[in-house]
């Protein structure tokens, strides 16, 4: 099969083990700050993040990053730098629902809009914890207007790092909802609900932060059925 399927290995971050150690250090530091109660925003910023543009290409942070492609693997953060956002989403294996939703709603162009975008992408586990399979099928196949609104609850204008979101304190989604943003370890907590589990993927003109909950206010339907063969 054509090799072009695979974003080629690019200069990646240090080894997975090294990255794990770094993430652990960051988490421990953040925890320490929280415990001592003297971690103001300025300190948070120094501890948790670096300004946009100065981090190593593909540096991502969060507890889930270790379970995602890294280093020279296909779909690693470094290999996605500069790719169109919709394409980058297709390489992050925990985002199959979100990625399918982007295609179902025809929103690939909106993700690549000029001016940049922050994409708060819930994991497949988050979608499954929120919606029944029948509900997901309905959203993807017929109720795409609702799905489009739901996706816009996860889009914020401007490509912003997790640290920048935290520094801003609150952001407004493209659905018009204002989300409070606070620090959560090295990442961000959104609307006191979702946290970034692997933040700061850099696609072309966009930042992708993988989050652990679905935002917005659609009804919870996950318990409505026992899906089986």
């Amino acid at each position: 099969m054509p090799d072009t399927l695979v974003p080629g290995p690019r200069p990646g971050p240090a080894s997975r083990a090294a990255r794990r150690r770094r993430a652990a250090t960051g988490a421990a530091l953040a925890l320490l700050l929280a415990v001592t109660g003297c971690g103001g925003p300025a300190e948070e910023e120094r501890a948790g993040a670096q300004p946009t543009g100065s981090a190593a290409p593909g540096a991502v942070a969060g507890p889930l990053c270790d379970a995602l492609p890294s280093g020279a693997e296909p779909g690693s953060p470094a290999s996605l730098v500069g790719r169109p956002p919709a394409e980058a989403l297709a390489w992050i294996p925990v985002l199959t629902m979100f990625e399918a939703a982007v295609r179902a709603t025809g929103m690939a162009e909106e993700l690549a809009a000029a001016g940049g975008l922050t994409i708060l992408a819930p994991t497949d586990d988050a979608f499954r914890a929120t919606f029944s399979t029948a509900n997901l099928d309905r959203l993807l196949l017929s109720d795409t207007e609702t799905l489009r609104r739901l996706l816009r609850e996860h889009l914020v204008d401007g490509a912003r790092s997790a640290a920048e979101l935290v520094a801003a304190g609150s952001v407004t989604t493209r659905a018009g909802t204002t989300l409070t943003v606070t620090a959560a370890g090295s990442g961000a907590r959104l609307a006191d609900k979702a946290v970034t589990v692997c933040a700061d993927y850099r696609a072309a003109g966009a930042r992708v932060h993988v989050i652990d909950k679905v935002l917005g206010d659609l009804p919870h339907t996950a318990d409505e059925e026992d899906q089986h063969h």
Partner: protein
């Protein structure tokens, strides 16, 4: 395929780093696991060790080794529990999820309650790379899923390209399009034989083929990736055992009937229909394509691939066709495939097969005939459901890593399908025997009809799987019809009328769906008769009876017209149905009339000239049987016939002659299409001539 048999087991050796100067061998610590071996399979490694008396469970640890042997971070990747395997005296665990080709070391330790005992000495090994020599054309093909190390599933476009490349590079493989999805995606099937697959469906059917239906729910893609890998293995393997099996049969692999759902990542097809609730009703083009494939290629055995969300079940929940209308032998043989083969082989290779549901209170695995497992059983196909547990759950704690999780699922499916192929090869005589018995017993139209209700599955003796058998799901009284009708009569409107079910622009009539199942229908003056005296008897009332739970149309039940004794000549005009009857005298079926005979005894000739249809099953006829110029179906199944028997000049549909014993000659001529036996041979003591020479 079977190179696991050749793989050398690596015997435990003390790691150099642990060796003390002057130490020859380390003394075992109390309760330390001993005798650990690691055997590499395709995408998994089987760990086996000596049981520790009193252990409540075991933990399996894996550590990646760098090229220079430097160990990475150890990870507990598995928990062995007593309900995992039928044979608790020789514990095994299939470790999977790692990237193929990597080098690892493994250790195992027992736990007493939550108290951890000492780890075994480590065993290291290099796992197998993706199957196929990278330097050999054909073998070097890889799916998108393999190329991306599990980051992406294989797309529709890549599936078509990959399977076309296999077809191009291997004489053993032919890719055929069996239909199209609602959105016009091709539904392909790989037809695989050695040295090449038979040229036509009919020729394939003569080789006792087996089928794997890989992807029904678009959001359950794990089995499909295994199918694509297995297709490459079968296309290019040099393993003589595999080629020996492949030389005697044909493997039918359908990568995805639900290409639209796969692309959209939905469970249903593009209309939202759950296709595994549609295999009897076939409202959708996807299920109709599969039904027509089964009708034409006639697999004798099957597996149907899914994924299952219950994290506490085994790796591989399985279940046979349980609907009570399924022939007993088909159910028994399917159970033998699961409990007799998969449980035992799973215990050897470390995979945890279990009866679907697998945990108490799981209300799954019932009798809906809309589910392929049951539909296939009702079509006399030995088969099983296969589920891949969606997440790692408590027994595979390292599967928060998506690629690890995807690989474990796919390689466990590959193991299952490979074992299925082996089971089929080793048991083809038994499978064809129960198929033959299924065809004849169903055609006899004997016994009650159950609309919904399952055969009971007893709990497998503890500790495996220990928790629970599948739900009993016995039929309630209102779901039982004690006296089966002889046939259903459909009106013209019912048979040919426009339907409102199914996707707009692709809706089909009852007639088209009945044809897709392959049922025999008799055109009579006031409508269409669907006699139950035919091989899919158990399925027919589930679609055509007014009492059906998910029926297609409420046909009129036609009761037998004669159940006692008739002395003297019998002339049939209109429709006659003899059930358990005795006729002493000749039977003449007039032009345009239909005769259906089940479980009867006829002492005299049976002569049908220009009849609408003739069905004789499970009966004894002392005297000649002649059907000439029949306008509709001729069905002779499971009879004792003195002969001579002659079937000639039949029109419109292939006469079915199967499982009969004919003392005299059997002659067929001028039938278009030619008669068939559905591979259920007749015993003919006299000469077989004409179109029936091979039946």
């Amino acid at each position: 395929m079977f190179s696991a048999l050749l793989a050398a087991a690596l015997v435990a050796t003390a790691a150099p780093a642990l060796a003390q100067p002057g130490t020859v061998a380390q003394a075992a610590e109390p309760n330390q696991v001993q005798g650990l071996t690691v055997t590499q399979g395709d995408g998994f490694a089987t760990l086996a060790w000596t049981r520790v008396e009193g252990a409540s469970d075991y933990q399996i640890e894996r550590t990646a080794l760098a090229a220079d042997g430097t160990p990475g971070t150890p990870v507990v990747v598995g928990v062995w529990r007593p309900n995992r395997q039928v044979n608790n005296t020789e514990p095994t665990f299939a470790d999977a999820g790692f990237a193929p080709g990597g080098r690892f070391q493994w250790r195992v330790r027992a736990r007493f309650g939550t108290t951890e005992q000492p780890y075994s000495t480590p065993v290291d090994g290099t796992t197998r790379s993706h199957w196929g020599d990278p330097g050999t054309p054909g073998e070097n093909l890889r799916t998108q899923w393999e190329q991306t190390l599990g980051a992406q599933y294989t797309s529709d476009v890549n599936e078509y390209a990959y399977t076309a490349a296999i077809d191009e590079a291997s004489d053993r493989v032919r890719v055929v399009e069996i239909g199209r999805t609602v959105q016009e995606r091709p539904i392909n099937m790989l037809v695989i034989g050695y040295p090449k697959p038979p040229a036509t469906p009919e020729a394939v059917a003569a080789t006792n083929p087996l089928m794997v239906n890989c992807n029904v729910h678009g959001n359950e893609p794990g089995d499909r990736e295994a199918c694509l890998i297995m297709a490459r293995q079968l296309a290019f393997t040099k393993d003589s055992q595999t080629l020996g099996l492949l030389g005697k049969t044909t493997v039918l692999i359908v990568p995805t009937i639900n290409g639209d759902g796969r692309a959209a990542n939905t469970r249903g097809n593009s209309t939202g229909q759950d296709l595994n609730r549609d295999h009897s009703l076939i409202r959708q083009p996807e299920t109709r394509a599969l039904a027509e494939m089964v009708r034409d290629y006639r697999p004798i055995a099957g597996y149907d691939g899914h994924e299952y969300g219950n994290t506490n079940t085994g790796d591989l929940p399985m279940l046979p066709p349980r609907h009570q209308n399924v022939a007993q032998g088909i159910f028994d043989q399917s159970q033998d495939m699961i409990e007799g083969h998969m449980y035992g082989r799973g215990a050897e290779d470390g995979w945890w097969a279990c009866p679907y549901g697998c945990t108490p209170g799981a209300n799954v695995g019932l009798s809906e005939e809309t589910i392929l497992r049951n539909t296939l059983g009702l079509k006399n196909v030995v088969n099983s459901l296969l589920e891949l547990r969606s997440s790692g759950g408590p027994t595979r704690p390292d599967e928060g890593n998506t690629a690890n999780n995807r690989r474990r699922k796919t390689y466990s499916a590959l193991w299952t399908f490979t074992e299925f192929f082996k089971y089929h090869g080793a048991n083809v005589k038994d499978i064809t025997r129960v198929r033959d018995e299924g065809v004849t017993s169903q055609s006899a139209n004997d016994g009650r009809i159950v609309f919904r209700g399952s055969r009971k599955i007893e709990a497998y003796p503890a500790p495996h799987p220990g928790e629970a058998p599948p739900p009993v799901d016995a039929p309630t009284p209102d779901r039982i019809l004690e006296q089966a009708p002889c046939a259903y009569r459909l009106t013209e409107e019912q048979y040919h009328g426009e339907r409102t079910d199914g996707p707009a622009g692709k809706r089909t009539t009852v007639a088209q769906r009945i044809a897709a199942h392959g049922w025999k229908v008799v055109k009579v003056a006031d409508g269409y008769l669907v006699p139950l005296a035919q091989p899919q008897r158990g399925l027919i009332p589930l679609l055509l009876d007014g009492q059906a739970v998910e029926g297609l149309v409420a046909g009129e039940r036609i009761a037998p017209t004669l159940t006692g004794t008739h002395n003297g000549p019998l002339t049939v005009s209109g429709v006659a149905c003899l059930d358990g009857a005795t006729v002493r005298g000749p039977i003449q079926v007039r032009s345009g009339a239909a005769l259906i005979v089940t479980g009867s005894s006829i002492n005299g000739p049976v002569n049908a000239a220009d009849a609408a249809g003739l069905f004789v099953t499970d009966s004894r006829v002392s005297g000649p049987v002649h059907a000439t110029g029949t306008r509709g179906p001729v069905v002779l199944v499971g009879n004792e016939l003195s002969g001579p028997v002659g079937v000639s000049g039949g029109k419109a549909t292939a006469p079915l002659l199967a499982g009969n014993t004919v003392a005299g000659p059997l002659t067929c001529s001028g039938n278009a299409p030619a008669p068939t036996n559905l591979e259920v041979a007749n015993t003919v003591r006299g000469p077989k001539t004409g179109q029936c020479a091979q039946l």
